[in-house]
Amino acid sequence: MQPQTAMPRNSAQPATATIEIRNLTCTFTSKRQSTTALQDVSLTVAPGEFVTIVGPSGCGKSTLLKIIAGLVQPSEGEVMLLGNAVREPQRDIGFAFQRAALLEWRGARANILLQAEMRGMDKDAAAARADHLIELTGLSGFEDALPHELSGGMQQRVALCRALLHEPPVLLMDEPFGALDALTREHMNVEMHRLWRETSTTVVLVTHSIAEAVYLGQRVVVMTPRPGRIHEVYDVDLPAERDYGTTMSSPAFETLARNIRGLLGASGHHG
């Protein structure tokens, strides 16, 4: 799998799409009012693609992710995941939340292995895979540490390992690095990029950091404020092998980031 040679838009034929979102609208009704979180969103994600979604707070991007996962039911439209219509919580995915959502009473390794226990995976294979991921994410030496003994970045790494343990074809990430400090975040971005290149996982990552979206994504989806619509989709024309410093200062990156920022700023005035 060579994501760098795949031109996402051209290669994404409907039949082979990993995720296909068709005319999605999602309205939440509470006692007082109804809020439209998403309006007429359509998006196709090709196998192995890394798509990032940016948008202002409350634009429904997290909701979109939850709908793909089958955790929230849309009001209209539908989502096809790996060729099947999503109507209930999906198992063929890994989900990483904004907060690490770890079990406080379990050590790092045991938290990662929760995935295996719930799925009834083969114990030895799962343990080996967990150890591999622990090494890959630099958690070695912290296998038994409880969540409160870990830093925020390490907690997120544990959550990432847990989401990847069962080698899901699709990884959905909801602002996974949003709670981290800038330096840790950059570091996690580099690691995330490397992890993605080493696997054939399709990733959809929601973020409100433009830099993160451009650095990680092959395509960046920019959303409007509530009700969330797709404003623009950008192809990221950066080399697949992305050194963080070089990428950040490259003209291509700067142009794209400026465009997106302009778009978000402009839409902010209307909203």
């Binding site: 079990l103 929760l114 719930m118 030496g141 296998e143 038994d144 409160h148 003994e149």
Partner: protein, 295 residues
């Protein structure tokens, strides 16, 4: 005592440190001496306070502010505890038995009710008002009926202990099971976990901090239930001895009996504390060394 276990956790689990290994090593390597030192550090303050109260008590009786038959001297109470130790041990055992059985049954029943309430909104609507209604009936008013129904044996005392200890277990159990992070439930759904798996691995362990706080309240209340049951109709137990001593104006025995009752309550409380130290060493309340009941 309560402080000891929490302090242990502070030094073993909560210490800031680098690599992950040391936590267990530190626990294992701690010597008996260190344990004793910690115990002493935790106990000396209440011990001093207790001694102070003892001194005041002694001073009051020495000054003969009250007649001896109303307020016995500490010495007289101590003498009673020693002289009647066999008789008192038997009665303490009876009350302890009723209390512990009552507490365990209340825990089981309360937990079951909490699970039903959390998992079924129909049952919640049906059960909650009834549980609340049962709670507001003064338990002492039920006691005579229970004696009529079940006689003078341990049953009415156990039932009273259950009735009185049940409520905090239900309330804390419901609060605990409801406190699950919704993201954890989402996560569990994407893992394809069954309801039972989610309960066993996520919801129930997560509810333990709340639940154990409720159990501490329940433990002390169970003693009250058993003693109230003995007041109404019994021929053994600390409550029975209390009535007897009061009838005979035997204030030394009265005080000795009271002391034993409180020791029983404290012992049960400490047992729940120990369970807490074993079950939820990871929880913030344990790490920060705050060992207080909240519900």
């Amino acid at each position: 005592m309560t402080d000891v276990s929490s302090r242990d956790r502070t030094t073993s689990a909560g210490s800031p440190r680098g690599p992950a290994g040391p936590r267990h090593d530190a626990t294992d390597q701690r010597s008996v001496l260190e344990h004793l030192a910690r115990f002493a550090a935790a106990v000396w303050r209440p011990a001093v306070l207790l001694a102070l109260i003892g001194v005041v008590w002694w001073a009051v009786t020495a000054a003969e502010l009250f007649p001896r038959y109303l307020v016995p001297t500490p010495g007289a109470v101590w003498a009673t505890l020693l002289e009647d130790r066999e008789m008192l041990a038997v009665h303490t055992w009876v009350t302890a038995y009723e209390t512990v059985i009552g507490f365990l049954l209340a825990t089981l029943a309360g937990l079951l009710a909490a699970v039903l309430i959390v998992y079924s909104s129909t049952l919640e609507k049906a059960l909650y008002p009834l549980i609340l209604f049962a709670q507001v009936i003064p338990k002492i008013a039920i006691a005579p009926i229970l004696v009529v129904w079940f006689g003078f044996g341990p049953e009415p005392k156990i039932i009273l202990a259950v009735l009185i200890a049940f409520f905090p277990v239900v309330i804390s159990g419901v609060a605990g099971l409801r406190s699950t992070d919704p993201e954890l439930l989402d996560l569990s759904a994407t893992m394809g976990a069954s309801r039972w798996q989610t309960f066993r691995k996520i919801r129930f362990p997560g509810s333990l901090p709340h639940l154990l706080a409720g159990l501490k309240v329940a433990a002390t209340l169970a003693v009250v239930g058993a003693v109230v049951g003995e007041f109404v109709g019994a021929d053994e137990g600390l409550g029975y001895v209390l009535l007897l001593a009061s009838g005979n104006l035997n204030s030394s025995l009265l005080f000795a009996d009271l002391i034993l009752m409180s020791v029983l309550g404290v012992a049960l409380f400490v047992l729940v504390e120990l369970a807490e130290a074993l079950l939820i060493p990871w929880h913030a309340s344990r790490r920060q060394g705050i060992a207080m009941t909240t519900s």
